[in-house]
């Protein structure tokens, strides 16, 4: 005991260029894939379109600029819709709602799903069983049926739409989180926190959650894709934004009768929704691939 050598971190293996957070690492690796770049490009372009679009619109979304289903002209660059409004203006203004709704719904689903999943994984007793079986019941309904059920009972309220979409996604997120967290709750650092008397909330969100961020990120981007599709579908069915609001899903519904006469009014929103979901899906795919790579690389 005569000598007390102080070990200094100089002897460490160089950690330069390596990110500490697995999430950042996953994202960086994901960016190496072409698909992720394409996906991000698509998402970025469409988000930009939705955000800036309304300011570029040549007309008001409700202004009648001609007779119904006019083909492209100088006044209406891509023609008019079923009521003679400018399709371009309505298209440029119609992205915000779908984006905002799907992002909010996804975030809400994440918060609820993560909380339930972590709680269930950490409890690992009857509460886990109750929570998981309850989620199974929700999962038994196809998303669209679940949402339609809720919306048709209460009415086409936007808050309800968001809640319903979130409710249809939360169980899947909860299952994923529970699965990923089950591995983590058995590790000793969780027990160490228990011995110290760390409150449950802190153990769930401070100790366990940071260890499952990567799979969660993949799931989140995938859920966003589904949210966009779901909300577009609901709007198309007439339970989302109500006329005369400009909304891509609604536009498809309103103008489908004139598809053969003036296809632009349908094709533009369809293409936008399609490209947006393809974009988010490519990002999710890239993240998932990067994540598998991570697991291979750090397996002990």
């Amino acid at each position: 005991m005569s000598e007390r050598l102080i070990a200094a971190p100089t002897a460490l293996a160089p950690a330069v260029g390596r990110s500490r957070s697995p999430l950042v690492g996953t994202m960086r690796r994901a960016l190496g894939f072409g698909r992720t770049k394409v996906g991000l490009g698509l998402v970025f372009a469409l988000v930009l379109l939705a955000l800036v679009g309304p300011f570029l619109a040549p007309h008001s979304t409700t202004e009648f600029v001609g007779s119904p289903y006019e083909t492209p002209s100088g006044e209406a660059l891509v023609g008019t819709d079923n009521l003679g409004r400018d399709v371009l203006s309505r298209f440029l203004a119609g992205g915000r709602s779908i984006l905002a709704l799907s992002v909010i719904a996804t975030l809400l689903a994440l918060v609820v799903g993560v909380a339930i999943g972590l709680f269930a994984a950490y409890a690992r007793d009857w509460r886990d069983d109750v929570a998981m079986r309850a989620l199974d019941v929700v999962l038994a309904f196809p998303s669209i049926v679940l949402v339609l059920l809720l919306v048709s009972v209460v009415g086409p309220e936007l808050w309800l739409l968001v809640l319903a979409v979130a409710a249809s996604h939360a169980p899947r997120i909860a299952r994923l989180v529970r699965g990923a967290a089950l591995e983590v709750v058995d590790r000793d650092f969780v027990k160490a926190a228990e011995v110290l008397g760390e409150p449950r909330r802190k153990i769930l969100f401070g100790e366990i959650l940071p260890n499952i961020t990567s799979p969660l990120m993949v799931e989140a981007s995938l859920r966003l894709t589904y949210s966009i599709g779901l909300i577009a579908a609901i709007s198309f069915l007439g339970f989302g934004l109500q006329p005369p609001a400009a909304d891509w899903g609604l536009m498809i519904n309103e103008n489908r009768i004139g598809l053969t006469v003036q296809p632009w009014a349908v094709v533009l929103p369809v293409a936008a929704i399609g490209l947006l979901t393809i974009g988010t899906n490519l990002v999710a795919d890239g993240l998932a691939r990067a994540l598998i790579g991570i697991d291979r690389g750090t397996a002990r």
């Binding site: 005991m1 460490l12 697995p22 160490a192």
Partner: protein, 629 residues
Amino acid sequence: MTTIPSMNGDYVLEVENLRVELAYAAVDIVDGISFRIKRGEVLGLVGESGSGKTTVGLAVLGHQRRGARVAGGSVRIDGDEVLTKSTGQLRALRGRVGSYVPQDPSVALNPALRIGTQLEETLVAHGYSARDALNPALRIGTQLEEAVAAQASNSSARRERIEEMMGEVLLPQERDFLRRYPHQLSGGQQQRVALAMAFALRPKVVVLDEPTTALDVTTQAHVLETVRALCKVHGVAALYVSHDLAVVSAVADYVGVMYAGRLVEVGPKEDVFNAAAHPYTRRLAQAIPDIAGRYKIVGIPGRAPSPGQRPPGCFFAPRCELADDRTREEFPPVQNLSPSHYVRCWHADEVRASSKLDRLHRETQNGGPAGDGEALLTVRNVVASYGAHQILHDVSIDVLPRTCVALVGESGSGKTTLARCVAGLHRDFSGEVLLRGKPLERSARSRDQQDRREIQYIFQSPYSSLNPRKTIGQIIGQPLRLFFDLGRRAADARASEALERVSLSGSYIDHYPDQLSGGERQRVAIARALAAQPSVLVCDEVTSALDVSVQASIVELLAQLQHEENLGLLFVTHNLALIRTIAQDVAVMSGGRIVEYGRVDDVLDAPTADYTKKLLSDTPSLERATVPA
């Protein structure tokens, strides 16, 4: 480097200048490895984790782990070069000529096949009694077909052979036993089955890779005996890879010491342990506790350089007292001390001449005066169970201030369960746990803050007990935040202070656990416990995931803290040899009961319980094994 000790005799295995590199970089994992093994002899290859001993063991059989490739040298079995053989030729070689016993038999055996089937498979795959060896000119498929065809006529021969094999490894030969699945066997029985498979085809060379590390001492003793007997009887040359010097001293005739990918010393067991010529060998011997003697154990500061980061000159130089300029410039050549003993050190003669005792006798009796004052921690009549399964039967112990009580026993003896009851991690028990005479709540969550603060728990594996997503500062800050009302700055200061108490620099605060070595991580775990200013420290096998040189320094640290901080220690371990070094009192546990409880020296010198006697005699001892007869 070709001057390896030459002796007349039938060398079965000859390894010369073996070099294994990382597959995609010209960085060596091991280099300049040369040794020979005679028929019926065992060479123990010792080294700490990352020293390359397993790499050598695998290369001997012509195998490399993913990401490694053989870059030079030769391995000859009975004069036949192994390294140039094709995959098919190697497959034919394995089992018949060379075989391998892995560390963990529960992973090596197929869980879906009965052990009889697996043993038979070994024989069938190598065409036992169908032909002498696999014909490399035939496709494997063809050979298998032939083997199947030959099966009917040979199955009774094989049956006989299997029974013989079971007898050799001291397993029951009944049909019922052969019909069991691996999970129905104990760890020791599984390892015996693996041994039986390895020796089944009477190979010339067997590589055993830490085959007893996962086993209890009693089982280990039996397996070691079996290994020795099998090698002698069948004239097999065995390479026994292990990190445990005491185990190697029990099983080997010759010992090779590896450090950072180099074989630094090879020689007869007695020479290497009693007249070591390499400073690393000596330091290693000083670092391991011995059941037979009262030694102080001394850790080796620093860490072994990993491939690609090795210094010019001798790799041990940064940790060596004898290092000089020449040592730092050039890696020492092989120096033959006797026909069978060689060393790679510039200062071998000095090391050999130094009269310094190989190991330092402990200056003080560890016991000192019996622990003073009232008990800090009392466990009274604790009966614990997991569901319907009762683990602890009426267990009582006392921990006095500045006293370390060691809880020893084999796996399943309930020692960890007891530790968890004390820490509030296991709630399903009756009886009492008292802190200074005051009964504690069962679960940590329902204990009050003060009680939680006073009892701190250190986990077995520092790889699992530190959250990889938190910095060291955050980890140590956790108890500070929970137990003390400190500002951020004060907390940081306290955290650095705690780090310094465990001999780590305060600058570690911003690092993450994966930037630290195993020993450093365990120090951080200790610092986290100390930050709470506890009065009782529960240490659950805290050194078993660490290398011996690191284990020694962690034990030194704990002993020091015990006195400096007036701590009571409850030290759970399966390693009987350790307790003389750290503990004053010892409770020997078996089957959930305390079978013997008393002062360490009393219990170890004059054990009364049969179980203790058995444990003591089964624990391998470097001293007992190397005292010249």
